[in-house]
Symmetry: C3
Subunit: 292 residues, 3 copies
């Protein structure tokens, strides 16, 4: 019981002021991927370890648990990690650390339109770290035996390489039987470089049949004292349609390793949030983030 369980999570709530191209300015309180998780492990001997996790979205602006996040059972050893359940696909994992505005108003899923999937019913393998290289693969069944309504299958593979200040990532993903019956192939590459207080990174994605677009993001940051200045430029270039740009600039203040406060400005020709208002808009977001 309790001794075997670690409780962890994150509270990330922002107050957003948004000025749409048409219509009045508005403001709102937003929960940004806040979560509560339970996890544990057991040493099974012979270098084998049982791992499990139950992680759930928690709406810190309106209260209440939401949909599940990474949730699985698996085995880990010198040969790598095998797990199954709900998990980020290898493509989502591949460039995640290059999303320096992750879950914030300037999140690259919003600014660059990158499609990231946390797949139900996933079966995944993560390799050990080979001198900086990690390989990940996952497959998702396309049947719905347990009646959860998830029919769409997928497979996704990724490679990540880390060495000194350099980070490189590449991923390929195929999604079958999505809503509407369409299949989709997309691939993505990313690179990052750290040099002292400076970081710079970029991601390019070809989101084949899914959104039929090329997607670009370039971002960088500079640490000074307990603060970090961040900037990002992104572009969505649809196969049919015209390019649209977005950019963001932000200042983080770290109270501690676990707690930060930030303010950022973002401007996007294709919107910053999937909901009201849509279309061209700019916004200022003030947020607090606490990990526990």
């Amino acid at each position: 019981a309790t001794a075997d369980v670690t409780i962890y999570g994150k509270v990330h709530t922002s107050i957003d002021f948004v000025d749409p191209d048409s219509g009045d300015s508005i403001y709102d309180v937003t929960s940004r991927a806040s979560r509560l998780g339970f996890k544990g492990s057991e040493d099974l001997g012979d270098g084998l370890k049982l791992i499990w996790k139950m992680e759930t979205t928690y709406n810190t602006a309106e209260g209440g648990f939401g949909s599940g996040r990474n949730t699985y059972i698996g085995l880990a050893g010198g040969w790598g990690t095998f797990l199954y359940g709900k998990h980020d696909t290898p493509m989502k994992m591949s460039t995640g650390k290059l999303d320096i505005f992750g879950d914030e108003m300037g999140d690259y899923n919003a600014t660059a339109g990158l499609v990231d999937i946390r797949a139900n019913d996933a079966i995944a393998y993560v390799s050990p770290n080979f001198s900086g290289l990690t390989l990940v693969g996952a497959v998702v069944p396309d049947a719905d035996y347990d009646g959860d309504g998830d029919f769409g299958g997928a497979y996704s593979v990724a490679a990540m390489y880390s060495n000194g200040g350099l980070f490189l990532a590449g991923a390929y993903e195929q999604l079958d039987d999505l809503v509407g019956g369409a299949d989709a192939n997309h691939w993505r590459i990313g690179a990052g470089f750290d040099m002292g207080a400076f970081h710079i990174g970029a991601v390019y994605a070809d989101q084949g049949d899914l959104t039929s677009s090329d997607n670009y993001v370039i971002n960088g940051s500079w640490k000074f004292g307990n603060n970090k200045l961040k900037a990002e430029w992104a572009q969505v270039d649809p196969d049919n349609g015209s390019k649209s740009d977005a950019w963001a600039i932000g200042l983080d203040h770290n109270f501690s390793k676990r707690t930060k406060m930030y303010v950022q400005y973002a401007d996007s020709e294709h919107g910053l949030q999937s909901t009201n208002p849509s279309g061209e808009q700019s916004g200022v977001s003030f947020g607090m983030v606490h990990k526990f």
Copy 2:
């Protein structure tokens, strides 16, 4: 992780026997605002403290998590507390301690028809205690940027004063763009007095445009040994319509500081529960309450 998180909550379940004015007597098991919460804080130095909470209703009669309760992130210091998320409005906070049947069959929200709101997306400030005086203010945005469906804005202010056995409270609240588009203004005053084993309290509310009513409640209690005898009279006086009364009497037995058992009788001309049956009714409620 775990060391930083406090788990707390309350199990409050009753067995209710209800005799409606028309129709058969019934009985049922009822979860009364049972809850499970997670909270924590971090000392940020310079007298500043990060605070957070995720508190969720748990149905202890039928199982399962329900809607969120007070859930927020904020900062606390000598200057008071700033927090945002989901929270009781200052008006709800103002006279809460005068609801001596709180969450029970004789709850003043049922007997006196007092409207208490736990607001989504609230931004609130609580002052330090100035020689017994505490001021609270909150504002709720009227936009829905994050797509949660909460459009109605509000602001609410309250003052509470505690000194010796005396307690005084006053609050004003304005609700905009409620369902149906109506606005509402209401204000509320309350007073309580403790003298030895005796307590007496009263609340008066003018629920302007919301229910268009004046609402009254007077209650008192007497402690003897580990027991408490409680009684309450309440009245709803609508602007258009006739007055209706309700009263309740109850006996609490405290097994410990954390656990009590009670039995109470309530009678109301305007019903005790928003669901079946409605209308004039009386009831007996046997309950157990355990805080953890």
Copy 3:
């Protein structure tokens, strides 16, 4: 707070390969009654103990909390245990330990069509153990005062006897006002016997007006080293209709007291899962189970 709360649960996820009599073979990841629970107790003195539990289904294949499991508050003493809330009925409790494929593909609820109910709003009493004999009774109100939508009443009684390797159980249950307005009476008997590494058990149920069937299951197991071989045969014999059989065979490997891995094969003329696909089918299930 925390010190008073025990967190516990189970992760049980399987990968199922199913071959229906008609249609293509499929595979899927399935959460099998995975759960997260919080519980506690308080010594009230005089041999009296307050007990409480909040246990919730957690979908370890798709993430997120589901419906509640056993959730209650109650008192326990030398005279037995009184509790109320959501709980397995005495009939479900009576033969539960004879379901050696419990929650797995070969679960007797699937293979033998046994109807087990976890009742909302239940009020239950569990006797002390009298030289191996335990009596359990529960009643469920048939009214819906708290508006949860549970109108159906029930009562259920059971007796269980354990002595040496012998286990005997009998139960009777009456369900009123089910969906469609029908009442149902059913009764059930079960027996089990342990001898060294061998176990054998059987359950017979007469599910009177509910499914109008006689239901049979016989199963057995053999432990060797850290492994257990299990086999089961079951039959559903409807009053109107033809008999159908099911059987299952499985191998469990226990990594530890808390963790096992299994593979099993099941074949049923009446389906193994209430959802897609239905009808005659066979399946192979690979699963991992971890208790914490």
